[in-house]
Symmetry: C2
Subunit: 390 residues, 2 copies
């Protein structure tokens, strides 16, 4: 299968490219290094050395014999993407090309505008390029469990059947997110759902929870093949941040009470799910939505898991409850469903002590590269009066 | 009250400005003439002569003694809007500054991108300018009944209480629109709902049905004060299009079966509703949503009403069922609620024969200006393969 991966430099994009190439798919990655630029601008660089895409593709080919094509460009430029789709003729397109940080999107007007414009325009362009040049190509889009927020009812998989005053209909499950970034993902779903109905597209929208981990079988071939791994408060997800804090001897920063529950998954589970979505495609005219996570935890539980596993490696770690920089419920009901991917064959990998210890050991090799100034919250949610700095 | 009207050149914007100024509010209108430019580019000009805003404001002041301030600029330019809000210090802001045509948004990629970018960025900038410079200012935003689509259940006013598997919560009423333009209004609601929760904004989101009519008490003072009135297939709403077709002796173009139901209202009712929303403001932290329409009709009923009223003026009119250029249900359940504005005192004006005859008489004065080439559908919904022209 020919697969075009947009956002191929990212935490998920590059490991996905290697994984699909190793499965003998013909892969092209596209990126303009936007996340890398924003991370550099906000002092939030990746822990691991990540050479440019051409260098990594060369190295990967040398190690495995599998080729990954690289194209550098901006998906918000429609003619660039349209031409690429027309020339490459993909059977599947994985759309990761979005500004991925919730705190970044809450930093100020400029960051909000960039996030909104980038994420919506990339999705619109993906839809149009496929519609105009390759209508049979399936789109696999990364959404987020954060689209649902934390409702007081069970979270179904994308859709809900409603009975209201004696009549019935089926709707997108209600969405209400906790950051502007997450809100752009809601809008992406609105956009995909509209064009699926208009143009019979084949779309899988993956509502993914926060991902953790830094190795995959392909990444282990060479440390220069490792993913972009952020551990700061802006681009780092919570487990990855805790792991680096543990190694650096910094107390784990739990935001607020720490009873916030989310559904988490291993980076390898992401690869498995995206591959399943591609290899078992959605039908034409179907917006197929899967909830993509392995286990739910409170933030406190995550912190305790990291503390325990660290102790087994003789690393002593403290937990620090810091004032919550976000506006979010800290004590809430959370019961999301997860059937679709399991029915396709998803075999999830749990967050065991061994998994945590493995990650800690890998991070220890890069201990000298940790910037200890960037693990405390630097962005607070809320309105910024003119003249205030955030 | 100081009121800033964004999109003050529009079909609703200019009459709103005159109406509020006549009620002794201090009014400033802002526009960059985007809709005028797009209408010109698509051969869809207004039937009525509409001088520029400065000329109309001068004329209005001469006729009434009421001043309307005019500022020409682009709301997608954040610094322009922020400075304006900081300098004018509005108590209320009416946001009409959006690309308002569904067919325009479906014409091609460029038009879709312009609509998405313009409508979302204006809304984001409105939120941020108010948040940063005037947090107490209430925002009155024009949404559309089209956000709801045509669900098989009763359409509640903005929100729905759900009971699911024995648990309860309250959500935005499900939304699924029939054009990209309408989808941008769904996204506007997503955006407003997010920032209302984050920053305690005061927002009224008006889910308005299609508007008809071309005079208001203030517009009748001089024909150069009349609103921008479109009757073509791209910028004209259905009743206005039928009225002009009747006067021009062209059969009324009913799209498809004509059993599509929508909720309609008179231009004067829009002014009444927007004024009520401003003068009875939403609370801080409240996203108040009203369904804003007066009566529901099928398209066939509207066509018959126009035919009957025209006959009373000795104008013979035929009805022509043309192939539906849109993808929409032509036979569907439709039962929208409408309580909130009535509770605030809204006294709707019905579409009587007399109202239709009055409109026909006014249009007859401009008969020579009708461009009979622009009343048939020129834009079809659906996917456009590369190389196809729409």
């Amino acid at each position: 299968m020919k697969v075009l991966i947009l956002g191929g430099d990212g935490y998920l994009g590059w490991p996905t490219a290697m994984h699909l190439a190793a499965r003998k798919h013909e892969v092209m990655v596209v990126d303009n290094y936007l996340r890398r630029t924003l991370a550099f601008q906000t002092r939030s660089e990746s822990l691991l050395p990540n050479p440019n895409l051409e260098q990594r593709a060369d190295l990967f080919e040398k190690k495995t014999g599998h080729k990954i094509d690289v194209c550098i460009g901006d998906i918000t430029d429609y003619e660039f993407l349209r031409t690429l789709v027309a020339d490459f003729c993909p059977d599947g397109l994985v759309h990761y090309a979005e500004q991925p940080s919730a705190p970044y999107s809450m930093r100020g007007h400029g960051e909000a505008a960039l996030t909104l414009k980038n994420n919506l325009m990339t999705t619109l362009n993906v839809v149009w390029a496929v519609m105009q040049e390759r209508p049979g190509c399936q789109i696999v889009k990364l959404g987020t469990m954060g689209e649902y927020g934390t409702p007081n009812i069970d979270i179904e998989e994308g859709w809900i059947d409603l009975e209201h005053k004696g009549r019935k209909d089926r709707f997108l499950f209600p969405r209400q997110a906790g950051s502007l970034y997450h809100t752009t993902k809601i809008m992406d779903t609105d956009l995909l759902w509209f064009y699926v109905r208009m143009a019979n597209l084949r779309v899988t929208d993956l509502m993914q929870g926060p991902v953790y981990g830094l190795t995959t079988p392909e990444a282990e071939l060479d440390n220069e093949l490792m993913p972009s791994f952020h551990y700061d408060d802006i681009f780092g997800t919570v487990i990855n941040r805790f792991l680096v804090q543990a190694v650096a001897g910094i107390p784990l920063t739990v935001y607020g009470k720490g009873d916030q529950v989310r559904g988490y998954l291993n980076l390898n589970d992401t690869l498995q799910c995206v591959t399943l979505a591609l290899e078992e495609p959605a039908q034409a005219g179907d917006l197929r939505i899967f909830n993509q996570f392995t286990e739910t935890f409170t933030v406190n539980e995550l912190a305790e898991r990291v503390v325990c596993a660290a102790q087994r490696l003789d690393i002593q770690v403290a937990i620090s409850h810091v004032s919550n920089p976000r506006k979010e419920a800290e004590d809430h009901y959370y019961n999301p469903m997860r059937h679709g991917l399991v029915e396709l064959g998803f075999k999830p990998q749990k967050l065991t002590d061994e998994v945590v210890m493995d990650m800690l050991r890998t991070i220890e090799q890069y201990k000298a590269r940790i910037d200890t100034c960037i693990v405390q919250p630097r962005v607070t949610w809320g309105c910024h009066r003119s003249g205030e700095l955030n």
